[in-house]
């Protein structure tokens, strides 16, 4: 059973006297609110909720037109990693705004969407949205390495469920919490999905560093000892990870309340658009000639205003 439940049980054991009188905050489940009147019914309800809970996540993966090949490969890599996803045709980026995409997701009967938008053939934005009405996030994607790169030597089963590891900074702020939940739902393969394999041989690493989310995918490799399929403790120590790829780094730009739109809930205060960066650079470069001319004239003025003193020894040896 889950950890949380154990915790609540121990908590209940600690104050068993007050248990009846204590008014607990109603907890949300998929079935609605539950009233914690007594522990037995609660447990039953828990059991039933667990029994009835079925993760039916389905992710639509698409991209905009004129996406560059590297980013397209990244998208295809993600498609191969997510057995519960559906890949769709490219969407014209002009009409990729809001409504059309929502419609498309609904048409494909998906519950979330990963949309790769490429602008100017160089900047990749990734939209991650929970579809009918959930929040959506827009990321800028940096540092892309696809699975095809030969330095990433790992390999794992197609469709095996990943173990998702999150760094603890995901629990520090609400927007990171929200992102964590979304990553967990979208990148985690649903249990008992028909395309999933019954083993676990890779791990996704989501880590926050410098306000970016870094993604890594590692294969779990373990030296097999003899014929035994079970792993003992000694082998656990010898377990190593081999990187499979892809890698990318997500810079969250905005979080919206609706899917592909709606009121903004979060805005990255440090974000500078790549266009802005480029224009700044161009400006710096453009100023070069003007600066040179200016410096020249200034030098001239300086020389004119401070003439050299006549050297009295100048013609000493020129008799």
């Amino acid at each position: 059973m889950g950890k949380k439940r154990k915790h609540s049980e121990t908590g209940a054991a600690a104050n068993e006297n007050k248990e009846e009188t204590a008014v607990e905050r109603p907890k949300r489940t998929l079935l609605g609110f539950k009233d914690g009147s007594s522990t037995t019914t609660e447990q039953q309800q828990k059991e039933s909720s667990i029994a009835t809970f079925r993760n039916k996540e389905k992710v639509l993966v698409t991209c905009s037109r004129r996406i560059s090949y590297r980013y397209r490969h990244l998208m295809l890599n993600l498609v191969s990693l997510l057995p519960h996803c559906k890949k769709d045709n490219k969407v014209e980026s002009k009409d990729s705004k809001g409504a059309t995409l929502n419609e498309l997701v609904e048409l494909k009967s998906c519950s979330s969407c990963l949309f790769f938008e490429c602008r100017k053939g160089k900047d990749l934005y990734m939209w991650m949205a929970k579809c009918p009405n959930g929040p959506s996030v827009k990321f800028l994607v940096n540092a892309v390495h696809t699975m095809e790169e030969l330095k990433l030597t790992g390999n794992h089963l197609k469709g095996s469920r990943p173990i998702l590891t999150f760094s603890s900074s995901f629990d520090k702020q609400p927007h990171w919490k929200l992102l964590k939940e979304m990553f967990m739902q979208i990148f985690g393969t649903p249990k008992d999905h028909r395309k999933s394999k019954p083993f676990y041989d890779h791990v996704f690493v989501f880590s926050i560093l410098d306000d970016h989310v870094w993604f890594r995918n590692y294969q779990i490799s373990c030296p097999h000892t003899g014929t035994a399929q079970k792993i003992d403790r000694g082998d656990l120590e010898k377990m190593t990870l081999v990187e499979v790829g892809p890698r990318f780094c997500l810079n969250p730009i905005k979080i919206f309340a609706g899917s592909f739109g709606g009121p903004t809930l979060y805005e990255n205060p440090f974000y500078v658009a790549p266009n802005q960066i480029r224009s700044l650079e161009k400006k710096q470069k453009a100023g070069k000639y003007a600066k040179k001319v200016k410096a020249k004239t200034r030098r001239k003025m300086h020389q004119l205003s401070n003439p050299l003193e006549v050297d009295e020894f100048a013609d000493m040896w020129k008799e």
């Binding site: 929970k130 929040p135 469920r161 590891t165 999150f166 929200l178 779990i220 377990m239 990870l241 205060p269």
Partner: protein
């Protein structure tokens, strides 16, 4: 800066391929560009975020096997631009994650790793993995070769040193021997031994000559060509001792010009000898020879 970045994006080959020590300049560039201080107008709707989180999140008491998530406590801040440290932190996060996951699976008795006889489609195709393997092998071979070359180079250097050392030792030994012989002679002289049986030994170690035992004397004899071992005596046979004056000039001229006339004429180039490259063995001696044989 950005151009470099784009190049890195386009060309996957321009990176160092060692997974541990890669240079990810593109990432660095991305990190550098950032507002110095947070903009004041940025929206941050804490309640809204929490509300949305509550809306989408799964029930709290859900079985762990649905989520498969593992949180890891971070030990220390990692510098983003330090590729090695960064990747290491990701790696350790993953490793600790799977250890914990393994413990969780172990308690429920679920299978964890893929058994070795379970074959199914993999994420990367066999063709691709073959490529990866060949690359690894090539890399290994390259490293080995360079290592070998380096070793050879070092050996050469070492051999040179050893040789120099040996030479030094040899000269030292020689000096020592000479010194010892000198000493011995001095002793002998002091003890007064020499007067009696000087005749035998003193010929061998005679005076100043003993200092440079095997050197040729530098005295040049007049009128003797340097290669002439007989000291110019071969040019004239036994002759009477009466014609001393005449003989001297005769001797000189003979040794200079040889007996059968002037040698110089024979040594001068003629038309045939200038065109003859047969004895020319400098550099690529084969080329002119071949030309000649073709003609």
């Amino acid at each position: 800066m950005m151009v470099e970045d784009e190049l890195a994006m386009i060309d996957p080959e321009n990176e160092d391929f060692d997974p541990e020590t890669e240079s990810e300049e593109d990432e660095e560039e991305q990190q550098v560009v950032k507002l110095a201080e947070p903009s004041k107008t940025a929206v941050y709707n804490r309640d809204g975020l929490l509300e949305r989180l509550a809306d989408i999140s799964w029930p709290d008491d859900l079985d762990w096997t649905h989520r498969l998530n593992i949180d890891r406590e971070e030990q220390e801040e990692v510098d983003v631009n330090d590729d090695l440290a960064r990747e290491h932190s990701f790696y350790t996060q993953g490793l600790e994650g799977i250890r914990q996951a393994y413990a969780n699976f172990h308690s429920t008795g679920e299978p964890f790793l893929r058994p070795s006889d379970y074959y199914a489609e993999m994420v990367k195709s066999d063709v691709h993995m073959e490529k990866v393997k060949s690359r690894l092998l090539a890399e290994k071979k390259r490293i080995e070769e360079s290592e070998e070359r380096r070793k050879a180079r070092e050996n050469k250097k070492l051999a040179k040193e050893v040789q120099a050392q040996k030479m030094k030792e040899r000269t030292k030994q020689k000096k020592q021997e000479i010194e010892s012989v000198k000493k011995w002679r001095k002793q002998r002289q002091q003890s007064g031994f020499d007067k009696e049986d000087a005749s035998g030994l003193d010929l061998a170690f005679d005076g100043g000559d003993a200092n440079k035992p095997f050197q040729r004397s530098n005295k040049k004899r007049l009128g003797v060509s340097p290669g002439d071992r007989s000291g110019g005596r071969a040019t004239f046979g036994g002759k009477g001792k009466g014609f001393d004056k005449k003989r001297k000039s005769r001797e000189f001229r003979d040794s200079k010009f040889g007996f059968g006339g002037r040698k110089g004429l024979k040594k001068q180039n003629t038309a045939e000898t200038t065109n003859d490259f047969g004895a020319f063995h400098k550099g690529d001696c084969s080329a002119p020879k071949n030309k000649r044989t073709k003609r």
